[in-house]
């Protein structure tokens, strides 16, 4: 730091200014030094509040997970009976099964084609079905 030009007058000024500055910085009055120390402590306390230990994060997470598990278990009762089937639906299903199981009625067209031909002609002769 020579004043960039090597001028001894500049160097003397720099040296004197630096000495005075160092003295004023190192010999601060107690009140100001104390306020600075408190400011530093406050800043570092901020860092500590951000730097929480792992267990402090794990504890709330564990509590939340436990609560969620309990909630799921309570809402899903294991002995709940299945919903009843309506009686009419059950009867219709049984009739359909009987028809399918019988089998013989489904082969009428193959066994007696004349009957179906007559049925068709009768329908043409009397379209209103009144005769």
């Amino acid at each position: 730091m020579s004043g960039e030009d090597g001028d001894p007058r500049n160097e003397a000024l720099e040296r004197r200014a630096r000495e005075l500055f160092e003295a004023s910085a190192s010999e601060l009055d107690a009140r100001t030094a104390s306020r600075l120390a408190r400011a530093r402590a406050a800043a570092l306390a901020e860092l500590d509040s951000h730097r929480r230990p792992a267990w402090q994060w794990a504890a709330p997470v564990a509590v939340a997970a436990s609560a969620a598990l309990v909630a799921v278990l309570l809402t899903r009762a294991p002995d709940a009976p299945p919903a009843p089937i309506a009686a009419s639906d059950a009867a219709a299903g049984i009739e359909a099964l009987e028809l399918l199981a019988a089998g013989d009625d489904l082969d009428l067209a193959a066994e007696d084609p004349e009957f179906y031909a007559w049925l068709e002609l009768a329908a043409l002769d009397d379209p209103d079905g009144q005769g």
């Binding site: 500049n10 160092e22 910085a25």
Partner: protein
């Protein structure tokens, strides 16, 4: 922050010359202190007094200077506390300089808005009170300290009359001990600008102080 029985140890901060008796730590011995890694606490303890004096010289207001230094500490801790310790000095001084500029800007706006009111005039500083307060507590040679205090007062007055950029260049280059590149980074300008501002600051200060120093 118990400072009742600290072990003084110098902290080398890279861009700042080792500061005598400005750093404290609670290590059992000075050797142990020097071997310990640079923590944020030690770093801030090592720079806080100089930072405060820089802010006070630039702002010419003790309370405002304390606010700026505290703000810079908080900002460093919050935003850059986890960065490698080598990055702290330039970051801190950049934050500090920005804080000083913001305070000067606010003061300038206040002065423009309320300058006509006598109670808001910034040049009404109680210099006599400050000078007495600045005398350090205790010490073997109060007369020498008082003379040094008066010389420092003249330097501060002369610095206060410099344009802001010249003032910053002088504070960082001469008083804070930064090299040109570090000062340029903190000021956010080119190295050439720093050299120019610094040279002009030296010329102005010499013209004002050579007679009285």
């Amino acid at each position: 922050m118990d400072e009742s029985n600290p072990v003084a140890c110098p902290v080398t901060l890279g861009i700042v010359a080792p500061a005598p008796a400005v750093s404290t730590c609670r290590a059992p011995s000075e050797e142990a202190c020097l071997e310990a890694p640079l923590t944020l606490d030690r770093f801030l303890a090592g720079v806080e007094r100089r930072a405060f004096r820089l802010a006070e010289i630039a702002l010419r207001d003790r309370d405002e200077a304390l606010d700026v230094v505290q703000g810079a500490m908080l900002r460093l801790v919050r935003s850059y506390g986890r960065r490698p310790s080598e990055e702290w000095p330039p970051l801190f001084h950049r934050i500090l300089l920005n804080g000083i500029r913001d305070a000067q800007r606010r003061r300038s706006v206040r002065s423009r808005l309320f300058g006509f009111l006598p109670q808001h005039r910034d040049d009404q500083r109680d210099d006599d009170t400050d000078l007495v307060e600045r005398i350090p507590d205790g010490g073997p040679d109060p007369e020498r300290r008082l003379m040094a205090g008066q010389a420092m007062q003249r330097l501060e007055t002369a610095l206060g009359e410099l344009p802001p950029r010249q003032q910053e260049a002088f504070l960082l280059r001469c008083l804070q001990g930064m090299d040109v590149a570090e000062a340029a980074e903190a000021m956010g300008c080119s190295e050439g600008s720093v050299k120019t501002h610094y040279f002009r600051a030296l010329q102005s200060l010499r013209a004002k102080l050579e007679e009285v120093w």
